[in-house]
Symmetry: C2
Subunit: 425 residues, 2 copies
C-alpha cells in the first residue's frame, strides 16, 4: 500500500478552486466586485492555490508572512515557505477598495479568482530592494557586494520582476474560478496534485522523485532521472508549462520531446510526464526550495537538484540550490517543515573512459574524456541545423528539436513575438 | 557535522574484544578452562561480537532468541535479528561443563574467546530442520513443497551447515581474545565498525551506502556502487574476507581488483574499500537482512541489494532479498528495529542502445541490445584466458583476474586445496 508524503503544511491538499454550483454562484458574485488586473505570475500562483499545489496557502500573503519568509523561510506561524507569494496593485487600485472587501482578480478579461482583502501593505522601493536582497542575492560572483545591484537590476529577471511590482501588496484568502487553458491545452500533461497522487497510488509508488524541467530534456537530465528511477519507485518528470523568457523552447515542443525520449529510452511505467502551471521566478536556490515545496504537494518526497538548479547568470554558487536544503530552519514539526528531500546530483556528462554517463562524484577522468555542451551552444547548433556531438543527446529527441527550430522562421515567428510581449499562454 | 546511523539495538557499539591487561588476565584465566573447539563460522561470529559488528549481541543466543528469530525475526526482547547466531557442541562436550561455568572457545590451537555458559539446549534433527525451514526456505523454485528438502540437503550450503551442526547449542556472553590474522593479513582493509565510523565522520559522511561483495567487482557492481555514490555521501565497498566455497576467488585477489577499479574508475574520496571477517551463511533473503544489520553497526544506513542478493541456486526469488525488507516486523522503537534501509536495484547490464549501464527499471530495449554474462561464464572465460565481451568488465580489472587464474595451476593449487578442506584463513 502506497504511503505518499503528506502535503506541505499538515493540512492536506488546500484547494481554493470552485466547481459546479459553487463556481457558478461565485462567478455571479464576482460580476458585482471591483476588478483588478493581475500579472501572468499571479495567474500561475492562483492556479496553484486552486489545485492545492501551494498547500497550505489559502491566498496571497500578508506582511508578517512576507517578512518571515524573506528573513528566515518561515511564515508567521512557523510553517516553512521559501519565496513570498504576494499580489501587487497600484496605490490607486488599493485605494479603490476597503480592507474586508471582496474583489475580483482578472487577466485578459477572464475572472481568475475572487479575494477577500484582509490586508494592504505598502511596498516602497526600499522594501522591494530588501526582498530582493533576501530572496535573490546568492553566493555567486554576481551577488558579491556592490556588484549585485549593478548587475541585478538589468540582468536578473527575478529582481527585475520584483522591482517592477506596483506600490502596494494586498493579502487575503482567494476562491479560484479558473485554471485558464491548461486543462484543455495540456490535456494529460497538466495534472493536479490530487491527480498525480492518485496515479502514484495506483502504481503503488510511495518513494517518488521529481525532475524539474524548463528546457528540453537532454542526456544529463535523462541521467539524473534514471538515477532516481533506479532507487525510487518512480519519477515525475515535471515541466514548467507557465511563462518563460522569449527564445526559450515552447512547452508543447518540450513535452513532446520528453514523450519521444520516454518512448525510446525509458521503461514507461516508471515515469510520468507532466507539467505545472507556474512561471519561473528565477530565485535560484530559493526557487529550488519552492520546487521541492510544491512537489511535496504533488506527492513527491525526493526533489532532484542538479548543478546550478534554477540558476541565473553567475548570481549563485553552482551547488547553492543543494546546500540551501541543509540551512533552512527545522522546527521538528512535520506539519511545518519541508518533508520533500533534495536528491543532490553533481555535474553530469558522458565520459568516454567511463563508457557511459557519469558525474564529478563518480568520474576521475579528464576534461578531454568528457562530452560537455552548454545549453546555449546546443540551442545554437540546433537552430543552425549543425551536428550535435556524439553521446550528448538522443537522436530522436534532437531530430524533434531540429524540426521545431527549422519551422521557427516560417510559422513560429509570430508566436515568439507574442511570447516576447510577455505571455506565451 | 556528520550524523551517522546509530548501531543496531540502541546500545551503541557492543564490543566483547579485550585489550591490554584485561586481555592478558583473561588469557591466563582461559588456560584453566575447559576448551571447546569451534567452527570457522563461529570464529567469524566471535570476531564480529568482538569488534561490535554484531551489536547488540553479547554472545551466542539462547533458545528464546533462536526461536523468536526463526519465527519472526525478533529476539526475545523484541530486537530485530535476521539469522540465529548459535554455537553448537556435541552432547559429550555439553555434558563436560555445567551451566554457569566459563569455557574457552578455541580453533586450531588458538583461544578465540571465553564464554559463560548460561544455557544449553538440545537441537534434534527436527529442530534443525525447523530452523532450516524458517531461515533457508524461500520462494524460488527449489524451495517449493517437497522439492526443498529433496535438493537442499545435498545442494544448499546453508542447510548442509545447519544440519551438520552438533546436537546441543550453548548460549551465553563471550569475551573475545583474538581477531585472528585479519588485522595483519588484511591491514588497511579489515576495518572495525569504530574505524569505519571514524572514517565516515572524518569525511563528513552521514548518508552512507554499502556494497556487499564476495565475488570480483564487475561493471554491474560498479554501476550499483556508482548509483549510490551519486545519491549518498559515500559508499563502503565491503567484501567478505571470511571463508568461501572452494573455487571462489580469494579475498586478497578480489580486494586488489577493487583497488585497481577504484584507481581507474572512481573518485577515490567517495568510496572506501574494506572487508569484514564473516563466512557466508548462504541464507539468501535473510542473509541480505544480516548484511544490512551488521552494516548499520559499521555506520551504514543504505544497503545496496541487487538481483539475487546472497542467492543460492534457485531457492530464492530473484528479488526476494529486496522484498523481505518490507515484510520484517516493525516495533516503532528505533533501538529495536533495523534502521539500515535497502537500496534496491534491479537487474543491471550494459545496453548498446542506452549507450551505458542500465537496469530493467531504466532500459526498455531488447536482450540483443544488452551485454549479459553470468559469473559462471565469466570465471570460465577468465580461467581459459578467453576474451571477455566488450563493455562487460574493466580491462585493468580483468587483466588482474586473468593473472590470478593464470597463476592458479602453478602456485595456487595448494591454497585452493586448503580452502577446499573448509578454511582459507
Amino acid at each position: 500500500m502506497a504511503n505518499l508524503v503528506e502535503p506541505h503544511g499538515g493540512k492536506g491538499l488546500v484547494c481554493a478552486l470552485l466547481h459546479g454550483g459553487a463556481l457558478e454562484a461565485e462567478q455571479e458574485r464576482a460580476a458585482g466586485m471591483k476588478q483588478i488586473e493581475v500579472s501572468a505570475r499571479a495567474k500561475g500562483d492562483l492556479i496553484m492555490m486552486g489545485i492545492g499545489g501551494f498547500s497550505p496557502l489559502t491566498g496571497f500573503m500578508g506582511k508578517a508572512d512576507w517578512k518571515g519568509i524573506c528573513e528566515n523561510f518561515q511564515m508567521a506561524d512557523g510553517t516553512f515557505w521559501p519565496v513570498p507569494i504576494t499580489l501587487d496593485v497600484t496605490k490607486a487600485e488599493a485605494d479603490s477598495f476597503k480592507t474586508g472587501e471582496e474583489i475580483a482578480l482578472v487577466r485578459n478579461g477572464v475572472v481568475l479568482a475572487t479575494m477577500k482583502v484582509d490586508e494592504k501593505f505598502e511596498m516602497s522601493d526600499a522594501d522591494k530592494k530588501w526582498e530582493c536582497e533576501k530572496v535573490f542575492r546568492g553566493e555567486g560572483e554576481e551577488s558579491q557586494g556592490d556588484t549585485f545591484w549593478k548587475i541585478a537590476e538589468e540582468d536578473h529577471p527575478g529582481v527585475i520582476m520584483v522591482m517592477a511590482q506596483k506600490e502596494v501588496n494586498i493579502a487575503g484568502p482567494v476562491k479560484v474560478l479558473s485554471e485558464g487553458t491548461y486543462p484543455t491545452e495540456y490535456k494529460g500533461v497538466y495534472l493536479t496534485p490530487a491527480e498525480t497522487r492518485a496515479m502514484f497510488e495506483e502504481r503503488n509508488w510511495s518513494n517518488v522523485a521529481a525532475l524539474q524541467l524548463r528546457n528540453p530534456m537532454h542526456r544529463s537530465h535523462e541521467y539524473l532521472c534514471k538515477i532516481a528511477v533506479e532507487v525510487c519507485d518512480g519519477v515525475l518528470i515535471h515541466s514548467l508549462i507557465g511563462n518563460l523568457k522569449p527564445g526559450d523552447i515552447p512547452a508543447d515542443t518540450r513535452v513532446q520531446a520528453i514523450d519521444i525520449l520516454i518512448e525510446n529510452y525509458f521503461v514507461k511505467d516508471n515515469v510520468i510526464n507532466a507539467g505545472y502551471p507556474l512561471d519561473m521566478r528565477y530565485a535560484g536556490p530559493r526557487e529550488g526550495l519552492l520546487h521541492a515545496t510544491f512537489r511535496q504537494n504533488y506527492g513527491v518526497n525526493n526533489m532532484l537538484i542538479g548543478r546550478d538548479h534554477a540558476g541565473v547568470g553567475d548570481f549563485y554558487g553552482l551547488f547553492e540550490a543543494q546546500e540551501i536544503f541543509d540551512k533552512i530552519p527545522q522546527t521538528g514539526d512535520t506539519g511545518k517543515d519541508l518533508q520533500c528531500r533534495p536528491m543532490k546530483i553533481d555535474w553530469t556528462f558522458y565520459c568516454h573512459k567511463c563508457d557511459g554517463m557519469a558525474s564529478l562524484r563518480t568520474c576521475n577522468h579528464t576534461k578531454d574524456d568528457r562530452v560537455i555542451l552548454s545549453g546555449t551552444k546546443l540551442r545554437k547548433a540546433l537552430s543552425e541545423g549543425a551536428e550535435i556531438v556524439d553521446h550528448f543527446g538522443r537522436i530522436e529527441v534532437l531530430d524533434h528539436l531540429k524540426l521545431y527550430y527549422g519551422s521557427l522562421t516560417e510559422k513560429v515567428e509570430v508566436k515568439m513575438q507574442a511570447a516576447a510581449s510577455g505571455e506565451s499562454m
